[in-house]
Subunit: 162 residues, 10 copies
């Protein structure tokens, strides 16, 4: 059994039952919707209690339940650059704005990155008379580049004046 | 003169003068920093009044000033997938979370996309004792797929029950 | 069940029954032929009433009918650059004429794009003694780039003189 | 001298003089704007009389004038897939709708292609209270696949019942 | 059923029966061998009478027969650049000689292309004491680039002095 | 000096003088036009006597003349797949017809290839009331795959029954 | 049945029986081991007598035996650049030394190639106290580039002074 | 001035002076050699005091010194997959061992990554009679995936039983 | 049976039994965990005694056991660049630091590489109050480039002054 | 100064002087022609004495001489797959025969690779009445995969029965 096979099975059940993502996320609970949906789609893992609830909901075997608790090989199954227009627009944002984000974050924080791991995100609907808007707020921990020393001792300069 | 040559010239002046992006953005004014920095880096345009201020600041010729007011060939000069770790982390967010975003946005809004054009964004620093965080808030107009009819008349179904 | 499997099944039935696309589109109704054929080929969704008619026509299960009403992962299954000569010619038009289209649209409308979402299209046959012609008329909403301000307030400059 | 160098020179002059594309196209005359702009951008050729007018307008040498009358190596200088959002939207249209166009054109015309060579196109602005639209009308000659015979004699079946 | 599955079935029958391509082409008849073999391999279509003969020869179902009469998604199933040495040599000819062909055809015919659609080809064996040679003769219609005018009226300049 | 620089210089002179390829080929002489034009474009070499004539015609230095007599790094400077429509059509012919050519050549000749090295080609214009045609005749030596033996002795089976 | 399926079946039998390649090659006989192993792996063909012996050894059907006597679509199934370290080292040798080989072969032989078709190869083990070595000796026929003439008559210059 | 130009200048000076990397690193001081050499090669930044020392050593202008203190666009200038054998071997280690590293790190630490930012590394020579060895020791902070909750409150599960 | 099928079977059993990698590695024994896990995942081979223990543990057939003792086609099944964040971080380390590693290793050892074959590696957990760290120590034999002589006699210069 | 610039300069001098590679290799001496030519072309290094002779021959500066003694970034400047027919034929040999070489070397030597570093090669001309042949003999040290143990102690199994 591959993770993609399990994803396909879960989507088949969702389709047959006519469940919404909202219903699935509330039943499994515990995390944000992006994480739970991500796990169903094979990009995230569920915790053991969540996997148990998913097993009950979808009627899964022990092995399938265990697989939902495994860290998947992330990124499998999505072509890059994304061909789907909804996902491509985010890709385009990174491509067009990436250099400016880099310049501004580095001026504010020094040399480092915004973590894509210690990271959270909320998606909301903003009602708007000209057409509703999708609002996405995300925050990731800034991780300064480690400038380790010639002596083998670590020293962090990231936030200091350099 | 290519836009990349102008970018290189502007960065040389910034470096020689020791200016910060903050200083440049305040001097040029009018738009958010992401847009102004994006224009300096050759991915956005400045309005005519902004270009005039930039010309004064950097000492530009009329042709260089006009070029800053032109829409550039966006996306030029950045390798994809991004090799720079800071920019790659955003790319990874899209690759790993894209399918979940798609599922949730489509359940909430129907068939369509979040515009990458009618779109704004704010970047902030969130102080945090475990390490400061980069906060990014963005909102884009939801654009429903147009389901035009067999008669040639348009009809929007995007937000209706389907 | 993957969307590609459903597409294959629908094409098998079409082939066995000897149906034309015209017949299928008239039976399902409601939208232009490009959209209905696109949905059968797995690139578009049908509305619920359309999916019901398609289910009746093709003899589909509830889950298959539900899948036709889902937004597919668009762009799957077509290699790019297209290898098929008919599709490649359109790709070539974009590659060769894209820069001129960009120059002319931006001069006329300002900075922005022609939407590929709020978009419609009609295809017709033009009889011509030297050989009939394919006529394609399409119109997409112009979406001006949003130039949001430093204050966080939105402001649209797209159509104004800049 | 490469064609790209000539393009850069022409754009520099256009920028310095503050000319619009409309002005350039009217001065050079003879063809549609898409063709004339395409030639300035290095993707099309000008006829000899047009090249002469362009030479007068831009103050070109004999060799530069001759180069504008040469067929360029088309497609040079544009990355594919296009990174620029305006051009990408057209690319996306081909990727998402290509299979449906193929199905409908082949049902109507038989086996063949819409020529990208014997092809014309008009771009217009459609005023619209919800936001103006870009209208593009194009027509290309349908070219039936040649089904030549075992005898070495040609025979066209494209438009016949097969 | 995919076209590739049908191709595989046809090749299995050919192999079991020990048929040559020559025998298959003579039985199906009507077109040159390159077209008939191309259709069996899933790159071309057979006309209805040819498909009927193929059905009789291979013992095909109505749906399989109908599929042979469909235009396939051409180019599927061949990696590019070709890995097979026989096919690669043709690819190499295009890569090495393409620019010279372009220069010579354009000098002789003006701006345009040799059609790959209105095109025929004969392959022969040339006995030669130093080793027999493969002789390929092909002719394609020259298609001049359409230089349509600013008025919207078409005008062909391809063959005229420019 | 790179070969591409020499090509650019030669094309500049051709453009300034208003020479045709026909004139250049006749002056240099000795080989077919495809080879001579290929050498000017940097894909082929000229023999010493030809290079001497080219040197006289173009007014070249000894080093430039020597470079025309060198075998270039073939294939440099042409993007693959070709973006230029004229060259792409040949590429498409290989992609669509390659598998059929392979089947037919191998049935006729056994296991081997048509040489792209011991190869010649003539291009002609075929007058035709429906539009003139480009005729290309080429012949390449068939090279049978060498089936060398376990003993280390060579043995050719290519043309024998296998 | 695809060639890859037959390869998988043959490897399964080899594995179950515990046969070595040496044993298989001796049983099938007639050619060098590289060719016989290549045929089992789907990159070469066996002659009819060899295929008959292979059929006896592996217990193959008539269709499977016929397939071993067919020329396969060579190069299928190997990713390039090779990911396997053993194969990659050869790829690296070509990449790093290719330009030097080209320079030396062309100085010695004139313009042409070493055939990869009329080619043989022996692999041996060289005992060595510092670690045994793999010795590979190969020889390929030199094929001079054909410099055919303007008259349409062939003329070979490859080995003459040029 | 691009960072690559500065790198080229620094390497020219190093070459003319005959300096070793060891000498350069000792003179600039403060960090490990990998970081200092990385900065000279355009992949890392130097701190201000280091850049000052580098300026003195290499005789740099103020702008060049400032550039050494800037975060570069990392990853520029190295083709991937690496063509250089020394660098490729590390790439191969990741490709071949990556899945096993993932399995073992996730079993030991839970869902997360080893940081490539909060990361240090020492390279040493291990004398060995069979041939000296390169020893590389590296340690990176483990970053657990953030499993933020439905409430918008963060909660870290990374190290807990799941 | 493909190696990927065997991997999938082994992972299914591991999942059903709830075994850890640690348990599997201890049972199979003999080598480091990276090698044993690599073999289960299809990138390494097990020795015969190890394969026998694996067969007992997983209940494998003789053919499956033999396959675990075969050298696999390494690198199959992992997309490059890696999409999984954990594996990508190692890839990034190579891309960003590769040129500096090359400079330092070559200065210390001369021209050559660190072997990725005669190579070992240990992975450990470093407890750390700021967050535990992953420690990786690896050593590979330095292999000097062979500078063989004009006489055909070998001579190693790698470690000598050059 | 980049290595490619030095290569270009050396080739210019070779061309102006009319030197052969044989003459250059004899003058520089010490190594095989493949290595010396490789160094001139920027893929190998010369030893110090060789570089000194090259400096005398070509009239090089001290910095240029030092650069010839540096290890270059190998593989730069050659497109892969190779477009030049002479180099492509070697690439094709690896692609078509790679899997068979792997099978035979592993059966003979066990798990490991043939080194591309501890490697030498001789190229010769084999006179042959049917056309002279290029003979290439190469030998590379077999490097067994290191199967290091769970204890951290190394143990080589490569040549033992496994």
């Amino acid at each position: 059994m591959k993770r993609a096979d399990l994803t396909e099975k879960l989507l088949d059940i969702k389709r047959e039952k006519g469940w919404t993502w909202k219903y699935i996320c509330e039943t499994i609970g515990g995390h944000s919707e992006v994480l739970v949906v991500g796990a169903i789609l094979g990009q995230m893992k569920l915790t053991k209690p969540q996997a148990a609830k998913a097993a009950e909901l979808f009627g899964l075997s022990a092995a399938e339940t265990a697989m939902l608790n495994e860290v998947p090989m992330r990124g499998e199954g999505l072509t890059m650059p994304p061909t789907d227009p909804l996902i491509y627009r985010f890709y385009e944002l990174v491509m067009i704005n990436g250099p400016a984000w880099k310049a501004l974050i580095e001026e504010e924080f020094g040399d480092g990155i915004m973590s894509a791991i210690d990271f959270d995100m909320v998606m909301e609907r903003l009602p708007n008379p000209k057409g509703d808007r999708v609002k996405i707020s995300m925050s990731g921990k800034f991780l300064p580049y480690k400038y380790y020393g010639a002596t083998g001792n670590h020293a962090e300069y990231g936030f200091k004046e350099e």
